[in-house]
Symmetry: C2
Subunit: 218 residues, 2 copies
């Protein structure tokens, strides 16, 4: 419950915890110890210990045996890292020829090391983008983030032509597949037909393609 206005710098570990908890609690439910442990590949006791320290620092709210939620300060820290991560990804893809699937790990390490000044220079070089290469929104430096609602491709009507806006980044191999088939944000796609019972969708991207049982969640 420290004021946290004078914000001492966070360690790398703390930054990773905040990001993880942000992701896990994005739906409003608290993040559980074991989910955090799973996401960060750590043991549950390690997470328990860190949760205690982060609570004492006022970065999160802990209800024992129930889970944690970020405080305002914690959320600020998390969004700062997400901004960094997504800008770094955008920069590496835009200026250094990185591909979708390799850029994540690089950004994961750089996000802890880069200065505020460099982040802003990269943002400037990119034209202060609002979205990263996968279509995920980039928080602004004051910590606000546009979170537009898109229609999952699975729910588009047959015959409709839509623009891909965002792709799920949680699985690298799926990403690689999407990249290979040209399903990138900004691309126009027409839904040709849909098989019932969560069956595959056929769509046209210029040439055409027929894929994805329902891993086209969006």
């Amino acid at each position: 419950m420290t004021p946290a206005l004078l914000a001492e710098p966070l360690t790398r570990s703390v930054e990773d915890y905040l990001k993880a908890i942000y992701r896990l609690s994005s739906g409003g439910q608290p993040a559980s110890t074991s989910d955090i442990a799973e996401l960060l590949s750590l043991s549950a006791p390690s997470v328990s210990g860190m949760i205690r320290r982060l609570s004492e620092q006022g970065l999160l709210e802990h209800v024992p045996y129930r889970g944690v939620l970020l405080t305002v300060a914690g959320r600020r820290g998390a969004l700062r890292m997400i901004r960094r991560h997504r800008l770094i990804e955008a920069y590496l893809v835009g200026f250094l020829g990185y591909s979708w699937d390799t850029v994540h790990d690089e950004a994961e390490r750089l996000e802890h090391a880069v200065s505020e000044a460099l982040i802003e220079r990269m943002a400037l070089a990119l034209g202060n983008p609002r979205f990263d290469p996968h279509g995920d929104p980039i928080p602004s430096s004051d910590g606000s983030m546009a979170e537009p609602v898109y229609t999952p491709l699975a729910e588009v009507r047959v015959g409709e032509t839509v623009e891909i806006r965002r792709v799920d980044t949680s699985q690298p191999e799926r990403l690689r597949y999407l990249e290979h088939s040209g399903l990138k944000p900004g691309i126009q796609v027409t839904l040709l037909e849909r098989q019932p019972f969560r069956g595959p969708l056929k769509l046209r991207i210029g040439a055409e393609e027929q894929v994805i049982g329902h891993e086209l969640a969006q």
Copy 2:
């Protein structure tokens, strides 16, 4: 005395120690505990402790009370960091508008975080340069480094026109001054006159300038 061919990754601290020891022992003399402590802003006992660990890892040769020298493995680690540092500096100056005096600190942190792949992409974007923006040589990825011998400006004859090749990077404020006065590598300079007894030198850079008592060591 481990073989060190399977090279476990070095920690940030270890990387900094290796760089410091490389610098301090570049003349062939061993680096002393207190010089290392001074350079890294650490206490002497901290350095003593780290020296023991690094010796055990086979990264340096320690003669108690006498000093340390890098082993082949240690030198490899040091040159790897110097390559990273100088390429990052060159990249930030060349592509992101950094100035001489601000680029060092940024590189100091990034050099520990960047992947081998990103370093090589930056090198490629720069056209595999052999020298960084200050004129310091960049070690190649196999660990060799050209170390040309240049004539200090203080020893140039009056009337001669020479090209600036390299500037001393050890003092940020001096660097800032040099940058301001246009004394950058690649620039042509004519020595107009020299005052005796380590007095100031007058030189022409297009317009002209008269500076530097003898901090123009090169």
